[in-house]
């Protein structure tokens, strides 16, 4: 049963959004948010990714060895969808890690919300924003001897 990648794509967005919503509201239910955003939803997206790759990798154009080949790879809708699922799964997992780390280090949730928005939209940029925030708080802890 061949599935239309454009149809599958329509399911991935709302699924990821659910995870991000859980992270944004995580102070209300930290464990449920962690379960959804660090486990269930990334796992579902990873299953979709793995299945897509198992089926479509063998006859996909291009490869990893040059930028042109990577671009060629993404001309195949099913492989591009797999790549998209990869982004969504890993960005969400990083978002969950940010949320968990912030909770463990008592970083106020309000401060990480912009980092989460950035991670949601532009993955690594949000990761970097959180690193910068965390670095400054670590510096404070080092200089004052207090825990962040």
């Amino acid at each position: 049963m061949p599935t239309d990648p454009h149809l599958l794509f329509g399911y991935t967005g709302p699924l990821a959004m659910l995870g991000w919503l859980a992270l944004a509201l995580s102070p209300l239910a930290p464990r449920a948010a962690d379960l959804a955003a660090a486990l269930v939803i990334p796992a579902l997206l990873s299953v979709a990714y793995t299945a897509l790759i198992l089926v479509h990798w063998s006859d996909a154009p291009g490869g990893f060895d040059s930028l042109s080949n990577v671009m060629a790879l993404f001309t195949e809708p099913s492989v591009a969808l797999a790549g998209w699922a990869h982004y969504l799964a890993f960005d969400l997992f990083v978002g969950a890690w940010i949320t968990r780390t912030a909770r463990a280090e008592a970083i106020p949730h309000l401060l990480i919300l912009p980092c989460l928005v950035l991670t949601f939209l532009f993955g690594p940029a949000g990761f970097l924003a959180f690193f910068i925030l965390r670095a400054s708080l670590t510096l404070r802890a080092r200089m004052t001897g207090a825990t962040a």
């Binding site: 400054s136 708080l137 510096l139 404070r140 200089m143 207090a146």
Partner: protein, 275 residues
């Protein structure tokens, strides 16, 4: 070493206190500086040119300027009365100032992404509207120096000698009092040049053949550095006259700002001989 700060009477200020006296402003300072790393990355990759320079030059300049401003406020916070500093009104006020500074940075980098003007943008209606909001935020963030200056002015805990306290307070208040009219006029103009500018000064980028309103803005903002440093020098070198010298240096500095402002308004460059 002609002027040592590390005497027993006046030990070098403990920088660790930045984190306890002004945690939000200090964190902001470090964040602004670290955020320069991706900004320089963008500048290295971006081949586009905006008004003769990389579009990223402006956000980078503002990150430095705002980091210095926030860091300076965080430092001077120790001279406020402890009760004020620890109180809820001040903490909320500081939080709003931090938010305003971050909003300015997002706005400036957003304009750089679009390779368009942040200030004086009339091409994109949305950015024209945002410019108004950012003007209000700029007043808010500058008002932090006024509030802090008044608070230190009225502080009688004796942590600083009267001359130094007056210098710090006057510098902070002058930063607000001079910056608001200069920057207000600047923002109501069509641009920062008066006349056609073809050459610019190294590093600062000020015009060498036209009036440049940014000179007075720059100096006005740094009153909070100049007057306290003058007070420090006066207290060391002429302790008996220190208080009077503080007032004198504040007056001289205000005159310098007004002078450079008038010079720019007449379309004359500030230091045309410096390449």
């Amino acid at each position: 070493m002609t002027l040592s700060l590390a005497t027993p009477a006046a030990p070098f200020p403990d920088l660790r206190r930045l984190w306890t006296d002004a945690p939000a402003l200090t964190t902001l300072t470090v964040v602004l500086i670290l955020a320069l790393i991706p900004l320089y990355g963008a500048m290295a990759l971006d081949a586009r040119v905006f008004q003769g320079d990389s579009p990223w030059l402006k956000p980078i300049k503002f990150h430095y300027a705002l980091a210095i401003y926030a860091g300076s406020l965080a430092f001077f916070a120790r001279y406020m009365p402890t009760g004020t500093r620890a109180g809820r009104p001040w903490r909320w006020f500081t939080a709003s100032v931090v938010f305003a500074i971050l909003a300015e940075c997002v706005w400036l980098s957003g304009a750089a992404m679009l390779n368009t003007a942040s200030h004086f943008n009339t091409d994109i209606p949305f950015l024209t509207a945002v410019y108004q909001v950012m003007g209000a935020f700029a007043v808010l963030l500058t008002s932090a120096s006024l509030v802090m200056g008044i608070s230190i002015w009225r502080n009688r805990d004796g942590a600083l000698s009267p001359a130094l306290r007056q210098g710090v307070a006057l510098g902070l208040i002058l930063t607000f009092a001079l910056t608001i009219p200069v920057a207000g006029y600047l923002s109501a103009s069509d641009g920062h040049f008066v006349g056609d500018s073809t050459r610019q000064m190294w590093l600062m980028g000020w015009s060498r053949d036209a009036g440049d309103l940014r000179v007075a803005h720059f100096l006005a903002t740094h009153a909070l550095h100049f007057v306290p440093l003058a007070a420090l020098l006066a207290a060391r070198l002429f302790p008996a006259q220190a208080l009077r010298l503080v007032w004198l240096s504040a007056a001289v500095f205000a005159a310098l700002v007004i002078g450079t402002f008038a010079q720019a308004l007449q379309g004359r460059p500030f230091l045309p001989f410096i390449g």
